[in-house]
Amino acid sequence: MTNPVTKFRVEDKLYQNRYLVDSGRPHIKVRPHEQPSANLLALTRVCPAKCYELNDKGQVEITADGCMECGTCRILCETSGEIEWNYPRGGFGVLFKFG
């Protein structure tokens, strides 16, 4: 019944976008943890830019370069203190041409 979903990588999608990366100043950080909570773990699937990934120790890591600043991870994990979330400095980050 379901359609064949063509193989694709989010990286290829993000490649279309314009970013001004603030090198060495990531705007989102994950606090060190032993085991990720359900919400933190969900980010490995739910983050639309696939910034969150599980490392081989079973902990969640972030590479915020492709971040579209949507705020989903903030809503899920800021209150619990699992992540530290800020906007990039003025002018940096994603630059939508169309939006």
Binding site: Q16, N17, A38, V46, G71, G90, F98, G99
Partner: protein
């Protein structure tokens, strides 16, 4: 950084911030507007349908130079299952009027235009400037802002928080609570470029006429969500959004959902051969009336998405944003004219005026919808769409089965899937929430 005092500081150059800054500057107030993006619109995402009446109230001659894509003459509502769609199409020649009612726009371009108008009206607009904190006096009144630029704080009589759905300053400043995952949708969207003639041919439109499709059904994998396809001049905006709580519970990937939508047999031919030039993601406030936070206080007001003023049922947001920005500005102008201070008591005028407008009246009308959709996503977005498709197919397939048997089969399928009581109670709850 700026050693001047302003009548008002507006945080954000989106729909609501531009409306507020424009209205105040046009009236002669000294306005500073701060925007974190490189240019206004560089951080903003919308479908995007723009409603003319609300902009006309602010800039009556906007049609002369605003970047508009197509005016809408046709709207389709699709209920989809895996292989089909059942739809309502509404198209009318009446929409080909001198001053059309709705247009598609491209937000980055539209926001740049709006911002130019704001500057022309006399406001000072500073981009590449992230506001990092609100400045308060010892009594807690908001008196200015800190930014990430070098230099000190900037002061004003009143601060308009037009910072959008994520609303960092308001939540960090304790003015309102953090959004709940069930009160906000995450939407992803792609821009598909195609030659103008191809779009006109595929959608049966000519000139600047446009067509939009809104879609619900199994495309959201049992989550409360909506897909959309909007025609621009030379591109198609295609996207889908679902509640953050549902994405999390189901561990679904938004980009996979979008790709499945692109591959749906009803959508695929419409975008065939297109070149994708951008992939964007953004949140949409969906909590409705019950989620509206405190809207004003000593030295501040909040407008637009930051104030949850978004009508998810009609997927209207930009018009509520523009209207709340304009009304907040008008309230501030009135307080200023009376030479009164920008206190909580005086700024309550904003809420009084907003309550009288369509913004709050519309949201109040649907106050029970968000919870209903959130709690019944499986039925509304999967079971019913599948049943509708079956029913339609039963009706259309001519295979020698007596019609009476077909009808019975359809009814039986509905009851089997949801029980008689379930169907009735869903219908009643939907009707009540819609009322």
């Amino acid at each position: 950084m700026i050693n001047e005092e302003f009548d008002a500081i507006v945080i954000g150059a989106g729909m609501s911030g531009n409306a507020a800054a424009y209205t105040m500057a046009s009236d002669g107030l000294k306005v500073l507007q701060l925007e974190r993006g490189e240019y206004p619109g560089s951080k903003n995402v919308q479908g995007a349908i723009m409603y003319a009446n609300m902009l006309e109230k602010i800039i009556p001659d906007f049609r002369d130079d605003a970047p508009l894509e197509r005016h809408l003459v046709e709207q389709r509502l699709w209920v989809m299952d895996e292989t089909s769609h059942t739809g309502i199409h509404y198209r009318s020649e009446d929409f080909n009027e001198v001053k059309p009612n709705r247009y598609t726009i491209i937000r980055a371009q539209f926001d740049k235009w709006f911002s130019r108008r704001v500057r022309e009206a006399g406001a000072t607009v500073l981009c590449e400037t992230t506001v990092t904190e609100l400045v308060r006096d010892d009594k807690g009144k908001v008196i200015g802002v800190w930014t990430d630029r070098a230099g000190g704080a900037i002061y004003a009589d009143v601060v308009v928080l037009a910072e959008g759905v994520c609303g960092l300053l308001g939540t960090r400043g304790g003015l309102r609570k953090m959004l709940k995952p069930e009160a906000v949708a995450l939407a992803v969207k792609e821009m598909h470029f195609l030659p103008e003639e191809v779009i006109e041919q595929r959608f049966g439109v000519k000139g600047s006429e446009g067509c939009v499709i809104e879609a619900v059904g199994t495309i959201s994998h049992g989550m409360a969500g909506l897909g959309f396809l909007y025609t621009n001049k030379e591109s198609i905006s295609l996207g889908i959004g679902c509640l953050v709580s549902d994405f999390t519970a189901k561990m679904e990937s938004p980009y996979a959902l979008l790709d499945a939508l692109k591959n749906h047999p009803s959508i695929r031919p419409l975008i065939a051969g297109s070149e994708v030039k951008e992939y964007a993601a953004h949140l949409i406030p969906e909590g409705g009336y019950k989620a509206i936070p405190q809207l004003f206080g000593d030295g501040w007001v909040v407008v637009g998405d930051a104030a949850q003023l978004n009508n998810a049922i009609h997927r209207e947001g930009s018009n509520l944003a523009m209207t709340s920005g304009r009304i907040a500005a008008e309230a501030i102008i009135q307080v200023k004219r009376r030479n009164d201070p920008m206190t909580k008591r005086n700024l309550a005028l904003y809420k009084t005026m907003l309550d009288e407008s369509f913004v709050v009246k519309d949201l109040r009308k649907y106050k029970d919808m968000p919870a209903l959709l959130h709690n019944n996503a499986g039925n509304f977005f999967t079971t019913y769409p599948r049943l509708m498709s079956q029913a339609a197919q039963n009706f259309m397939r001519v295979d020698g089965t007596p019609k009476i048997e077909k009808e019975k089969a359809t009814t039986a399928a509905f009851i089997k899937a949801r029980s008689r009581l379930g169907l009735v109670s869903d219908a009643i709850r939907l009707a009540l929430a819609w009322r």
